[in-house]
């Protein structure tokens, strides 16, 4: 990256500095070259990285940890119960670890769209 004046930078942000994030993104890109995203932009099971967090669309959460060993996503799901008298105030909430299968698998409900970080 070249600094041509006090406020203007030219080149890729981050330059040559390596980071875990960049390395993970590179690993993901390599896999996506072989197993491309679906038309909906969903990352297929074959391209998922074990132990990585994914942003996506799921029943219980929009972020999930991919566990290749058990072939499932782990999410933190919240069930919220609203008080009818003081609605929409929350009367109670239960937070639990949940699991969701990949959408391409029968009965699955999590569609990973972007890798976020590794464990």
């Amino acid at each position: 990256m070249t600094k041509i004046s006090r406020n203007i930078l030219i080149g890729r942000k981050g330059g040559k500095v390596s980071s875990d994030q960049k390395s993970l993104a590179a690993r993901q890109n390599v896999r996506l070259r072989w197993h491309g995203k679906t038309a909906d932009g969903v990352i297929p099971v074959a391209a998922l990285i074990d132990g990585a967090w994914y942003r996506g669309k799921g029943r219980t959460a929009s972020m999930a940890l991919w566990d290749a060993h058990s072939g499932t996503f782990h999410t933190v799901g919240m069930n919220t119960y609203r008080d009818p008298l003081t609605f929409p105030k929350i009367s109670s909430r239960v937070t639990r670890l949940k699991q969701e299968g990949h959408v391409e698998v029968s009965g699955g409900s999590f569609a990973p769209l972007q890798v976020l970080s590794a464990e």
Binding site: M78, P84, F87, P88, V94, R96, G107
Partner: protein, 197 residues
């Protein structure tokens, strides 16, 4: 297994649970159950589910009691069943018992007897009926932040006018504020049953 794909798998897990409870001398337990497993057993929805939601203890066959905790023997049986079938440790849980706070639809227990099954000498499970599943889903869909998935479930359940009316009557029987009634009306109208309002 890791998830229930078919109703037979739910029956298998509950049969194992019943056996393990007998081996652990857990005593007789009768439960009212709901949630995704109920939808699967009644063949209302085909999506997979990872757990069985216990709603209440059935005492003397006709009284519902909220579940403070399962007995240590039953907890042990739940854990052993999880190990045998490759399920999560909390696959059989009582999170839904919170719904008893406001009261359940009238006659829910009587209707559930049509979906009752004995699993070994200790465990009897009754899944709530279709109309009550719709009613509980309607309440779950009331959540303005996370209700979307329940709305989608409701649409997939393809409820009849009578079932929505049943749910509506139940929710309107609670003391509630204007915001609650407004949200309920919005939901019912969105489902195409505006004439019920």
């Amino acid at each position: 297994m890791n998830a229930f794909e078919r109703k037979e798998e739910i029956h298998e897990a509950l049969t194992t649970l019943g056996k393990q409870m007998a081996l652990a001398y857990a005593g007789d337990v009768q439960l009212l159950c709901c949630g995704g497993s109920g939808l699967c057993v009644l063949e209302i929805l085909s999506r997979s589910t990872k757990d069985v939601d216990a709603l209440a203890f059935i005492v003397d066959g006709h009284t519902l009691k909220s579940i403070e905790a399962f007995s240590p023997e039953m907890n042990l049986a739940i854990l052993k069943t999880a190990q045998i079938h490759g399920l999560e440790e909390d696959w059989f849980n009582a999170e839904a018992t919170i719904l008893l706070k406001h009261g359940l639809p009238e006659g829910i227990l009587e209707r559930s007897t049509q979906h009752a099954r004995q699993y070994g000498p200790c465990l009897r499970v009754q899944f709530i009926g279709r109309a009550d599943q719709v009613a509980l889903k309607l309440y779950a869909a009331m959540d303005p932040a996370k209700g979307r998935r329940h709305e989608e479930d409701l649409v997939a359940m393809d409820p009849t006018k009578e079932e929505i009316k049943h749910g509506l009557n139940w929710l309107l029987s609670w003391p509630s504020n204007e915001a609650f009634k407004k949200r309920l009306a919005f939901l019912v109208e969105g489902l195409g049953f505006g004439e019920l309002l």
